[in-house]
Structures are given as C-alpha cells and as structure tokens.
C-alpha cells in the first residue's frame, strides 16, 4: 500500500497542494474531513484546511490569496459540513441539475403531509391518534405515505393507550437539510401546552 516516495508529486507549492486536494475530492463518495486529507497528503492539517478554504473561495469567484486574477464563479462549490468537505453543484443551477438526478420520484410533499410531519417531528414519539387530534382529521393515510417514503418509522408502543408510536428518520432530516433534531426551528412560542387538553 505504501508508495515509493519518488512517485509522489511534491506538494510544497500551494498550487500543487490545491491540485492534489482537488484530485482526491473528485473521487470521494462522502464528505472528507480535512484531517484525513492531511494524513493522505502528508501535510499539516492547518495547511490543508487553509488550502480547502482557498479553493472554496476561488470557486465562488473570489481572487485567491496568491493574488492572481480572480476566477469566474464555477458551477460547483466546495462545501464544508460537520463531516467534512466535498464538491457540490452550485444552488442556482439546481433546475438543470435536477433534470439529470431526479430518479423519477421527487414529488414534493403535500401540505397535509408537511403538517403531519411537523406534528410528528415536534411531538415524537407520538401515536397516530395524537397526531390526528392535533390536526383535527384522520391521518391514517398520510401516516402510511410518510412511512412508505421513509420519513417516519414506528418506534414502539405507547404504554398507556397501546397505540403505535412514530418518530422521524434521518431521511427526514436530510430532506430538510438539518443536521439533527436539535436544529429544528423553535415552534411558535404562543403554542399552548395542550397535552392535557387532549385527555379531555
């Protein structure tokens, strides 16, 4: 697995380091942490992070630190997430990109589905009867659809009522672009605490 040193292009110059990072990121299937890149490239992590930031800025059309002429804004960007860095298409070209990547099934969620999803998200784990009480309508069909699409899953049984409990999935978070449930926007502060009302 180890390669003879003489095969490795030297990465002393910034342009070469940048290019090496680009080459590696081009084959990755998931975000790559800067530390992992640093290890593979045998460079200090700080230097790699600086390079990643320089690259990200240059794709956005900013002049790079070397003072050379600014590049035009590219159709891709270098995105940093909690898990690491990876290439992504630039948001404003989404309409074109979607014509390629949509696998025949990216129906938008209906309003009823979104509202039901909202109740599950903030009250989880929650029974269907509870969701139904909040929305004032029967939600059986919508809950089945959300389950079939992997946005909610069963999560045990409510001790008191025997009803099946539901919670949201990772797919739900991804669909909304959230890292975790903690990032859910706070619900309107005037929401009364109506747990007890449901009992009456």
């Amino acid at each position: 697995m180890s390669l003879p040193d003489d095969e490795l292009p030297g990465l002393g110059r910034e342009a070469e380091l940048d290019a090496a990072i680009e080459a590696v990121l081009m084959v990755v299937d998931a975000p790559v942490p800067a530390t992992q890149l640093a290890e593979v490239l045998e460079q200090p992590a700080a230097r790699v992070t600086t390079a990643l930031e320089r690259l990200a800025a240059s794709y956005a059309g900013s002049p790079d630190a070397s003072g050379s002429a600014p590049m035009r804004e590219r159709g891709f960007e270098l995105r940093r997430t909690d898990e690491g860095w990876r290439f992504a298409s630039r948001a404003r070209f989404a309409p074109y990109v979607e014509r390629f990547v949509l696998d025949g099934q990216r129906a938008r969620l209906t309003r009823a589905a979104l509202e039901t999803l909202a109740v599950v998200a903030y009250r989880q784990p929650v029974t269907r009867a509870r969701v139904s009480a909040v929305r004032g309508v029967n939600v059986d069909g919508v809950m089945r659809t959300l389950t079939a699409r992997g946005l909610i899953v069963e999560a045990g049984v409510d001790g008191a009522t025997g009803g099946t409990l539901y919670r949201t999935t990772e797919l739900f978070l991804e669909r909304l672009g959230l890292g975790s449930l903690d990032e859910l926007p706070p619900i309107a502060p005037l929401l009364p605490e109506v747990d007890d009302i449901d009992e009456l």
Partner: protein, 263 residues
C-alpha cells in the same frame, strides 16, 4: 352588511382546507380577526354553511369532526347573544372550557401549520446543492481487496429481519383495557370525609392517591360541585398558584380564589 330575505346560495370561495381547524382558521383569517380574540361567534355562520355544504361528500368520521366544532361554535355564539349573567351553573363553565379548548387547539394547529410552511422552505432550499456522489472509477475499483460479507447466511437473515422488524419490539400495553370509570359523586364522598377530618387540603394532596388522569379530572369536577353546593371554600393566592380546598359546609365563606372566569 345588507340583509336580504332570500339566501343568495352558498359559494365556495376558500382554498382547499383539510379538517375543521383548517377551515376555521381560514375563516378567521378571511374576516381579518385575531385567533386570540373572541372571533369565533363571528365566523360561526360561515363555518356552519360550509359544514352543511360538506353534506354527503365527506365520510362519517370527517363530518363528525366538523359537526363537533360547529356545535361548539353555535353554543358560544348563543352564549354571546344572551345577556351576560353570572357564571354559576355548570353549563356556563362547560361552555367556557369548550371555548378554551377550541382556542388552544386552534393555536396549536396554527403553530404546526406555520412550522409546516417553514419545512416547505427548508425542503426547497436544502435540495438546491447536489453533492458530488459518484462511483469509484473502474481503475480504482480494481485496486480494492476482494469484498467479504463477514457473516454467514443465517446471520445475514437475522440482519435482514432486524431491518424489517419495527423497532423496538412491541409490547402490548393493557392499561387502557382497565381504565377506571370515575363517578363524580363517588369522588365527592371520598373528598368530603377527608376534608371533614383534615379541615384544609391542597388539591394536590386531595389527588395524591389518584392513579389515573381521569381520577384527577373526576376530583376536580367534584371540587367544583362541592363549591357550588357550598360545602367547601377555595383559596388560591393568584392564578396558577396552588389551590387549597377548605371544609366549610353551608357557610357564606367562598374563599379567596379568583374564580371569575369572565376575565
């Protein structure tokens, strides 16, 4: 507003609504009323008209949902048309409670509706950047060591079962099969004897032995009953403070609780 003798016929001018709360919110919005104000009696007629128009098109359960809300609205409207009286009898209290529950549910529904709109925005912006997610080119795939599953067929089947099984393993709750039926007169008897002995107990103390929520509700209704029949006096320092119940049979002492629900 013009009063015309003949009805002009019912016209659907609303967006699609899902359920009674949704319809009610839309009506309140159309009248530019605040949900938190007493807006309900003003939209009652509209609501009932829509419910009537729902007619045979909706299923029984759905129609019932609308009718429950319609009946509550009618009650509230009727109450507002009558000269305001002392709130004394149980019907008035029930009506106030019904209004509060309806308001609470409406506010709750509206909050989730707002969140759903936010979800819509998040959903559409989250998907604008598509990550590069590509397969390894063949020349690199060839470098990989031969793949191993690391499990045998039996273990593989167990993994499959674990994925398909709803998690966690269901346990059947039986509590709901034995939900006690609670009679208010019974609760009154229990509480009377305790209060007679202790003189004064907080509501929490009175309910200390309750195992189910419905028993607490029964005791609360019992306390109201005893208050009405002048068996007890109620003390409460301020709203939401601890409620104390004093044994005071046939006395004029009504206690220090701010029980005027007209506020």
């Amino acid at each position: 507003m013009t009063l015309t003798p003949e009805r002009t016929g019912f016209q659907v001018t609303l967006h699609n609504f899902t359920g009674p709360f949704d319809l009610l919110l839309q009506l309140i919005g159309r009248h530019e009323l605040d949900v938190t104000e007493v807006a309900l009696s003003r939209v009652t007629d509209d609501f009932i008209a829509y419910t009537a128009a729902l007619g045979g098109s909706a299923d029984l359960e759905e129609t019932t949902g609308f009718l429950v809300v319609a009946a509550t609205l009618l009650d509230l409207k009727a109450a507002r048309l009558l000269p305001s009286a002392e709130v004394e009898d149980e019907d008035d209290l029930a009506l106030l409670e019904a209004r509060d529950v309806l308001f609470a549910r409406l506010l709750q529904y509206r909050a989730y509706q707002q969140v759903a709109a936010l979800f819509r925005e998040l959903e559409s912006s989250a998907r604008l950047r598509y990550p590069r997610a590509v397969s390894l080119p063949p020349e690199l795939t060839e470098l990989l060591p031969p793949v191993e599953l690391g499990v045998d067929a039996a273990r593989f089947a167990e993994i499959a079962a674990a994925v398909f099984r709803p998690a966690p393993p269901p346990t059947v709750g039986l509590d709901h099969l034995h939900a006690p039926s609670v009679s208010v007169p019974e609760q009154v008897v229990i509480m009377s004897s305790r209060l007679e002995e202790a003189g004064r107990l907080t509501f929490a103390e009175l309910c200390a032995d309750c195992e189910h929520g419905v028993e607490v509700v029964g005791r609360f209704l019992g306390v109201l009953e005893m208050y009405r029949s002048r068996q007890v006096a109620l003390d409460q320092e301020e709203a939401f403070a601890e409620l104390a119940v004093r044994w005071a049979p046939d006395s004029e002492d009504r206690g220090t609780a701010a029980l005027d629900p007209g506020e």
